[in-house]
């Protein structure tokens, strides 16, 4: 189908909200038969081990459902802190911004059949 889901996290999430996002997103992937999920975390001021685990879980669950997850927009200070904390988010694909994230999703879910709607911007 080639449907992509885009999620923008705009608030400082408490743990239960993060769990709810994980569950809702996983259901949405299955329901919409998405091939990819783009998560924009550019407004997130920290990623602790809980949020990090949630992001890794979403990537793993989407993979099982035959979709790819790309994380975009991580702030440099967040990246530095995350690595020092000990989370390198293995298995999570990242891109610098939404545009290159979308390009990555397109290339990841490119099936050799008829090419989809996009002829849009490459980064």
């Amino acid at each position: 189908m080639g449907v992509f889901l885009i999620v923008t996290i705009q608030v400082d999430m408490h743990d239960q909200l993060a769990m709810k996002l994980q569950d809702d997103l996983t259901s949405a992937i299955a329901k919409s038969e998405s091939r990819g999920v783009l998560i924009d975390i550019s407004s997130l001021e920290i990623v602790d081990s809980f949020i990090g685990r949630m992001l890794a879980n979403i990537a793993a669950m989407s993979r099982v459902l035959d979709a790819h997850t790309v994380l975009v927009g991580m702030q440099p200070a967040v990246a530095i802190t995350l690595v020092e904390l000990g989370m390198s988010l293995p298995g999570v694909r990242t891109a610098l911004n939404v545009e290159s994230g979308m390009a990555l999703l397109h290339s990841l879910s490119d099936h050799p059949k008829e090419s989809e709607e996009d002829a849009s911007s490459d980064t």
Partner: protein, 134 residues
């Protein structure tokens, strides 16, 4: 600058973890820590506040300053009256978890801060103090 308590917060539920992050951020900005340092302080606060809520059955976080005219420090103290940690060395190790989490809370916060002290007594509770110097 003598040691001074800035604020005391109650940590009872997961929403208090969010407040702990916000207050740690507030004081880190107030003390003019760089953005990367702020992020490290707030992340450590989040990890340790979660430990207090999830493992300690709730407790307090005290935000204070320490240091002298030349160097200042932001200090966070987390205290609970929970079960205590049986094996602190094991709990500090990355990947050790009793809650199904990542097991990065204690070891990770130690790496994010300059000083880390833990005092845990079985049946009495746990106190963790972390300090970040400017």
């Amino acid at each position: 600058m003598p040691p001074r308590t800035l604020e005391t917060l109650t940590l009872a539920s997961v929403s208090d973890i969010v407040i702990a992050r916000q207050r740690a951020r507030h004081w880190a900005i107030e003390m003019k820590f760089s953005l990367v340092e702020q992020t490290k302080i707030v992340t450590a606060a989040s990890e340790l506040a979660r430990n207090t809520v999830e493992h300690g059955g709730g407790g307090t976080m005290v935000i204070s300053t320490d240091g002298n005219r030349i160097r200042q420090a932001l200090k966070l103290t987390f205290e609970d009256k929970g079960l205590g940690i049986a094996d602190v060395e094991q709990a500090m190790r990355d990947g050790f978890t009793t809650s199904g989490g990542m097991g990065l809370g204690l070891g990770g916060s130690k790496r994010l801060m300059n000083q880390f002290e833990i005092d845990s007594r079985l049946g009495q509770g746990t106190r963790v103090t972390v300090t970040r110097w400017k």
